[in-house]
Subunit: 156 residues, 2 copies
């Protein structure tokens, strides 16, 4: 059922995807084991072949993992929601039921808003941390100046 044409060709080897995403091949196989990203195809000999879309998924997973700090189980839920949204896009072009469209977009908005809130908090926390480091840098420079001014020790 539906069009079986492969729009996004699977031509990247696992090592190429690993390098592009900054992960190990072991990591990609582990993600596949967990059902997070599977190669869109295989070579006749059984080697994994990834598509451009597969690589994008891996990059997305890394962002959620390293920048937001989700574990792979939470990430699985999020990317599943986003995959549903991709389905929606096809349905939308094919003129699916507007009722269902509304539902799916509402769901996507909810996922995205929750994510935004968490990332905003993270940005704020790490921004505060950076300010502390900057303040420290200023203080250190002042200490250096003080040492230079009285080279023979401290005047009580």
């Amino acid at each position: 059922m539906g069009a079986g044409v492969t729009i996004d060709e699977a031509r990247y080897r696992i090592g190429e995807v690993a390098k592009a995403a900054g992960v190990s091949t072991r990591t990609l196989r582990y993600y596949e084991e967990l059902g997070l990203v599977s190669p869109s195809g295989h070579s006749p000999g059984g080697a994994r072949r990834y598509s451009e879309n597969d690589l994008a998924r891996v990059l997305r997973i890394r962002e959620l993992q390293q920048l937001v700090g989700f574990n792979l189980d939470e990430i699985k839920t999020i990317v599943a929601g986003e995959a549903r949204l991709d389905e929606l896009r096809s349905e939308f072009r094919d003129g699916g039921s507007p009722q269902r469209e509304r539902e799916l977009v509402a769901e996507a908005i909810e996922i995205n808003d929750r994510l935004r809130e968490q990332v905003r908090q993270k940005v704020s926390r790490i921004g505060g941390f950076l300010e502390e480091l900057d303040a420290k840098a200023v203080r250190y420079r002042q200490i250096v100046e003080e040492i230079e001014k009285c080279p023979a020790g401290r005047p009580e």
Copy 2:
């Protein structure tokens, strides 16, 4: 040798420190095992007693771990450098050799600057990610509007 007076009293139980730092008691014992933070004292019965300073160390470790993404081995190096700087402060007040002071401050500045650079990069990356999420949020809202405008399906 030196003053043996405990300036910073060790009066917090492990559970209190754990709660205040948002970690488990297991985590605190693990940090101790690695030589990252040890309780400043013990009860007669052998229970750990932490000082205000110990808690600050734990919070510091968490920042470096969660916000910057260092592993515990890297963190050990950093906090060791900062501990040396605390030594410097005592030495400085006691009027130590200005030569040695200069060296230690220079070292502290280097550690701090490296840290700042990494955090800055992180801030920039996560900031970009947040912008993407914001853009997505706008797009989703536009899609909702479009659906509302043509409730009978898509024209063409």
